[in-house]
Every structure is written in structure tokens, then in C-alpha cells.
């Protein structure tokens, strides 16, 4: 990442942003990197390379907004989400989070400094079975965050748990039961209740409905949609199912091989995708209407983040590649349409001389 062509990377929540978010951003991610070392074999193994899971990712999420983070496996969407919440420590970059007492850079804080902030940012996990402790009752599971952070006790604690369970469509008599007594959809409701019980301002939901059956999935999507409105949640919604993303999100960020390739308001992205990868991704979704045929021509597979192609990571598969694409990595640039795209073929400055790293 020798050449940083982005306008600025200083700590400033009013920074002009490639996704054109308003200055009311609750979260600003700036040049986020997460690289995992690869070690050789043997006792004294040396580091032999890096898996560049996330590279130079920047975006803003404004208060009350739902941002979809989409991409295929290995695109870095989950790693980005986890690094934002500091479940993983970033290799570089900034994660500016507006708390009740000012803007902090989550990337720089120590574990101890992060603990009080955990009340304001929470995660909803994919698998409703493995994310709930089978030996804890629902009451214990949902009250645990409040107990750990000493936010409530006694009858007040119980009251908050009951009201949270009701919000997610469960009843107070469910409190003494254990996770195995619930269906997949109900378990996901319990997971959502646990995440929301502390009234966080930021929710990161990692594939929250992928493990559910279609008929139940719709219920949980409706629940998330209602809660978001009712509790004014700001959400980062990580998903591979584009139809769910289109239904729930205000803006969508598309990732490929660890980088953001396009970010745009939802309808614009789905109606007029700019990046050739976004176009291919949308074309690959099989439509449930047999009269809308699937037109799909993308060959090859997702780039290996341990051995990325030169220039634009997508160039070996791209139908529109030209010389520049193999040499220089495209930066995310704002288009007249309001979205941003990292593609030489779409760049408003396409005639500029080659800036080589």
C-alpha cells in the first residue's frame, strides 16, 4: 500500500467520505487493514507471507442507517465487521466511533478501554445454535450483558429482560427454558434480544438470517426491520444473500478480495451497478421468476488473498480490463450518480496519466 491516493486519513469525523455519507456519521472506518501472517512449517517457523483479508477499507455509517456489506466467501466482509468491533485487532487504520462522550478510535484503544464501550456496540451472530450457551437459561443469556456491565440488578434486571424478550416476540414464560427447547427462528430472536438488551447504538449483524428456513427468515427480517426503526439502531448488515440486503439496507458496500469495490445507495446499486464485479454478482443471483433468465458469464474464482493479482484484484476475471488494470490498483472514486466505485474503466479521471505505486 505504498501510494495512498485517498484525500486524507486524519482523525476527523467530518472527513469527506468516499461513500458520501453525511457528517452525522456514527462510525467512520478509515483505511482499515487486517492482515494475517502465514507461518512456514517447522519448529522455528518464520513468517512466509500475509493473508490480506482486509485492505484499505474506508466507509461511513450515519446514525440510524443500515449499511449492507456484501461479497463472496473470502471477500473480507466478516473480517471487516469483526475488526470494527475489535473482536480482531486491526493491522492498520482507524475506526472512529461516536460515543455518548465524544469520538474515539476503536482501533487504538486497549482491551480495558474497550470494555465500557461494549455496551454501545454489539454483534448478532449467524448460527443460533452455537452462539447460545446450551447450559444457560434464556433469562441468564439475555441478562448476562446487563450483569457483566452492572447496568441493572434485582427486579429491575428482570423487568428489562422481560421487556426485551417481548420486543423480539418471545414471552416471559420462556425465560426459564433452555436454548434446545426453541426452534431456529426463536433462537435467533434470543440472540437478538441479548445483543439489544443494553441499548447499543451500533449493531453488527453477521449473516443473521442465513441459517434459517425461508419461511422463518422472513419473520426475523421483519423483526430486525421493526427493531431498527423502533430503537433507532445503526446497523452493519453482513450478508451474502443479496435479496435480503436489498430489502433491509439503505446503502450497500460490495467487497472483493479484501477491498471495497463499490458503495452506493441500495436501489441505485441494484438498478445501476457500476463495477463489473457488482454487475456479475447481481447477475449470478437466480431469480425465482422462471421468465427472468440468468445471464451469467463470469469465469474463474475469487482471488486468493494470500496471493493477490497485481493492479486491480479483479482484473483476471474482468471482461472490461485494459493495460492499466494489471499495473495499478484503482482507488474508490465518487461518481456523479452519488455512489463510489474502484474501477479504472469507470473512473471519471480515466484520461489521467498512470500513477504508479
Amino acid at each position: 500500500m505504498a501510494a495512498d491516493l485517498s484525500p486524507s486519513s486524519s482523525i476527523d469525523k467530518n472527513l469527506p467520505d468516499p461513500g458520501s455519507a453525511p457528517p452525522s456519521a456514527l462510525l467512520s472506518v478509515r483505511n482499515l487493514d487486517k492482515h494475517f501472517p502465514i507461518f512456514g512449517t517447522g519448529i522455528l517457523s518464520r513468517r512466509v507471507g500475509w493473508v490480506r483479508a482486509v485492505s484499505d477499507v474506508s466507509f461511513d455509517v450515519s446514525a440510524g442507517e443500515t449499511l449492507g456489506l456484501v461479497g463472496e466467501s473470502g471477500s473480507g466482509k466478516t473480517t471487516t465487521a469483526r475488526t470494527i468491533l475489535r473482536a480482531l485487532t486491526p493491522t492498520a487504520g482507524e475506526v472512529l466511533f461516536r460515543t455518548s462522550s465524544g469520538v474515539v478510535d476503536l482501533a487504538k484503544l486497549s482491551e480495558a478501554e474497550l470494555i465500557p464501550l461494549r455496551t454501545q456496540m454489539q454483534m448478532v451472530f449467524q448460527d443460533p445454535v452455537s452462539s447460545l450457551n446450551p447450559r444457560m437459561s434464556i433469562e441468564q443469556i439475555v441478562s448476562e450483558p446487563l450483569v457483566i456491565h452492572k447496568l441493572a440488578k434485582g427486579p429491575h434486571l428482570r423487568e428489562r429482560v422481560v421487556s426485551m424478550l417481548e420486543k423480539v416476540g418471545l414471552r416471559s414464560e420462556h425465560m426459564s427454558r433452555y436454548p434446545h427447547e426453541f426452534s431456529g427462528g426463536q433462537r435467533q430472536r434470543i440472540g437478538i434480544a441479548r445483543s439489544l438488551v443494553m441499548n447499543p447504538s451500533l449493531i453488527v449483524a453477521d449473516e443473521p438470517v442465513s441459517a434459517l428456513d425461508v419461511s422463518v427468515q422472513a419473520q426475523v427480517i421483519n423483526l430486525l426491520s421493526d427493531l431498527r426503526r423502533e430503537l433507532k439502531l445503526t446497523t452493519i448488515f453482513v450478508a451474502h444473500d443479496l435479496s435480503v440486503v436489498r430489502y433491509l439496507c439503505d446503502r450497500v458496500a460490495v467487497m472483493y478480495a479484501g477491498r471495497l469495490v463499490e458503495i452506493a445507495p441500495t436501489e441505485q446499486l441494484f438498478e445501476h451497478p457500476e463495477h463489473p464485479y457488482t454487475q456479475a454478482l447481481l447477475a449470478a443471483v437466480p431469480n425465482a421468476d422462471p421468465d427472468v433468465p440468468m445471464v451469467f458469464a463470469l469465469s474463474g474464482e475469487v482471488a486468493n488473498p494470500a496471493n493477490l493479482p497485481s493492479g486491480c484484484s479483479f482484473h483476471p476475471r474482468c471482461p472490461e480490463r485494459f493495460d492499466l488494470c494489471e499495473q495499478t490498483r484503482p482507488e474508490l472514486e465518487t461518481l456523479a450518480s452519488g455512489g463510489s466505485v474502484a474501477c479504472h474503466a469507470r473512473s471519471p479521471k480515466r484520461t489521467l496519466p498512470v500513477l504508479d505505486a
Partner: protein, 336 residues
């Protein structure tokens, strides 16, 4: 369905498969009937626990204890030779082994578990060929290379020497398909063949299956929960709920004019069909456990059209002809 034996390749009649656990009988498939027509793709669709995979496994007699086929028939009508009732074959009959991987090929869901991690691709492909055809080493290798070429693997000779972990997910699934095709089967049973794959790979594999169907003169039984995949690949569709077929017919007819409330509910819950901001139509409740299958119509507790005293009593409604092609199992079929 008006189809003569000549049109049919597989006829599943009133199939019943139960699992015997802790002294009770769980009816995973409870009287399912469907037919695969020659040269066509039949999709069997449903949510978890509907019995779609158990039905597929029954066709190859792969249902393991404590599960057992307790009733019905599965009849294969090969292009040449007499029809075979698969349910009547002995567990260790030569004729059963000849079917598996011979006349019937199977594609499994998870390519990483379907392939052996300690054998090379060449090893596994050769085994599939040699089990059914007495060929020499060189002929087997030539056959393996031509199979890998057929499923779109570049550099097939090199791929033969590789182990599954050296291949990407999409390549592994192509190998699984090559093994299923090893002995030019007439029927291909594909159990969620693209569920473990990303959308762009899924699109590639679905395209491959389509072209194979045409070029190899295959009939396909496709098991899936994804109505998008169904709409893009199938010719006919069967919907299952709690071990029973609730609706069947030609793809377009069923998707454009679904007759069963469950089919309607499933189609409505697909987010892409809905307008953003409006609540997504959903089916209330969740699929009940096989231990507590509701009386009467098994779908009645979740059905918006259920009539108390009628839908919740007696035995489950039978699948009956709605017209010449479409069949529905609903008591209120003409009324709703």
C-alpha cells in the same frame, strides 16, 4: 399426470420412511409420490425436516439405521431392460450396487465431505469407473481425463494428481459431479448441489448441470430449498412439507399460479418479490418437530386459510389432481 412408462424414468409411489428413535416412530417421509420424467429436471423443494433429502437418499437406498423404508415403491424404468423396484432389492444385492454410481449418479451437498481427503482426485475417479467397468489402467485414466474435461476442469491431467484440499470449492464440486457422471448414469440425484457455494460459483455449476442435461441425455432429481435455483433449472416441481407432497406440477404453472397455501407462503417470503419498507409476508410459526405432527392437514396451524373443525381433523388431505398437470393436497383447494 398423464405419462406413460416410456416417459417416466423414476416413479416414487407412496414412499414411507421412518426413523425409530427411543421407541417412537418419526415419519420423515409419510406417503410421498412423485415422478421424474425422462430428460427433465424435477426439483423437490421444502424446508428443513420436510423429507426431501431422505426421499433422495431412499432412491439409492442410502437411508441408514435407525431409519428404514417402511412402505411404498421406488421404480426405475431404464432405457433398456426391465423396470426395477429399488425398494424390493436386498441390502447387499449386486443389482443394488450396479445402480449406485451406475445407472443412478449422486451429487452430494458438501464437496469437502463427499470427497476423501487422503486420496487423489484421480484415485477417487478411477475407483468410481473401475467399480462398474472392467477397463485397463490406461483406459481408466483416459476416461477420467475426459470426465474432468466434461465438467470444465482446466488441466485435467494435473488435476488427477491433486488432493481435494488443493482444489477450490467450485473445482471440488466439479469433481463430485464428474464422479457422479463416471458411468453415464440415466438419472442424476443432486442433493443441494450448490448450497455450499458462493453465488458466482453456483451460477457456473447450474450452467454446467444444464448443459450436461442436454449433452448427456440425463434426467435429474434436484433437491433444494432455494426457489431461485429451482426457477432457473427445473422443468417440474414438487413441494414437500412434513414428509408429504403438498403440491406438484410443471415449474411455470406452480410458480406462477401456486394452489397450496404453503407454496404461496414460501413464494411470498422471498425478499426480492417484496417492496422495501413494507413488511415481508411470512408464514407464521415454524416447522413443527416430527414428534408432534399436527392432526388433520399438517400445515393447518400455520395456514391463513385453515377452517377449524375441518382442516384440523381426520387424516392429512391426499394429493389430488387440480387439473391434468397440477396436483394439490389441500381440502380448500377450490375455495381459496
Amino acid at each position: 399426470m398423464v405419462a406413460t412408462n416410456h416417459d417416466l424414468i423414476l416413479d416414487v409411489k407412496d414412499l414411507k420412511v421412518s426413523f425409530f428413535v427411543d421407541g417412537s416412530e418419526l415419519k420423515a417421509v409419510d406417503g410421498a409420490s412423485f415422478q421424474v420424467r425422462r430428460g427433465r429436471v424435477l426439483a423437490v423443494v421444502g424446508e428443513s425436516g420436510c423429507g426431501k433429502s431422505v426421499s433422495a437418499y431412499s432412491i439409492l437406498r442410502l437411508v441408514k439405521r435407525p431409519g428404514r423404508i417402511v412402505g411404498g415403491q421406488i421404480v426405475l424404468h431404464p432405457k433398456s431392460g426391465p423396470s426395477i423396484d429399488i425398494t424390493a432389492l436386498q441390502e447387499d444385492a449386486e443389482s443394488l450396487y450396479a445402480l449406485r454410481g451406475g445407472r443412478i449418479g449422486m451429487i452430494f451437498q458438501e464437496p469437502m465431505t463427499a470427497l476423501s481427503p487422503v486420496h487423489t482426485i484421480g484415485n477417487q475417479l478411477s475407483e468410481a469407473i473401475a467399480l462398474h467397468r472392467p477397463l485397463g489402467q490406461a483406459a481408466i485414466e483416459a476416461e477420467a481425463i475426459s470426465l474432468l474435461t466434461k465438467v470444465g476442469i482446466a488441466g485435467p491431467a494435473q488435476a488427477l494428481k491433486k488432493y481435494p484440499h488443493e482444489l477450490s470449492g467450485g473445482m471440488r464440486q466439479r469433481v463430485v459431479i464428474a464422479i457422479a457422471l463416471a458411468n453415464s448414469p440415466e438419472l442424476l440425484v443432486a442433493d443441494e448441489p450448490t448450497t455450499a457455494l458462493d453465488v458466482t460459483l453456483q451460477a457456473q455449476i447450474l450452467g454446467l448441470l444444464k448443459s450436461l442435461k442436454q449433452n448427456e441425455d440425463l434426467s435429474v432429481l434436484l433437491i433444494t430449498h432455494d426457489l431461485g435455483v429451482v426457477a432457473q433449472t427445473a422443468d417440474d416441481i414438487v413441494l414437500m412439507y412434513l414428509g408429504r407432497v403438498v403440491e406438484s406440477g410443471p415449474l411455470r404453472k406452480v410458480l406462477k399460479a401456486p394452489k397450496h397455501p404453503y407454496t404461496r407462503g414460501l413464494l411470498d417470503s422471498i425478499p426480492s418479490r417484496s417492496v422495501r419498507g413494507k413488511p415481508l409476508p411470512s408464514i407464521t410459526g415454524s416447522v413443527p418437530s416430527l414428534k408432534e405432527i399436527p392432526s388433520g392437514c399438517p400445515f393447518h396451524p400455520r395456514c391463513p386459510y385453515a377452517v377449524p373443525g375441518r382442516c384440523d381433523q381426520g387424516s392429512a388431505p391426499q394429493l389430488s389432481d387440480f387439473d391434468a398437470e397440477q396436483r394439490v393436497a389441500c381440502l380448500r383447494v377450490g375455495e381459496i
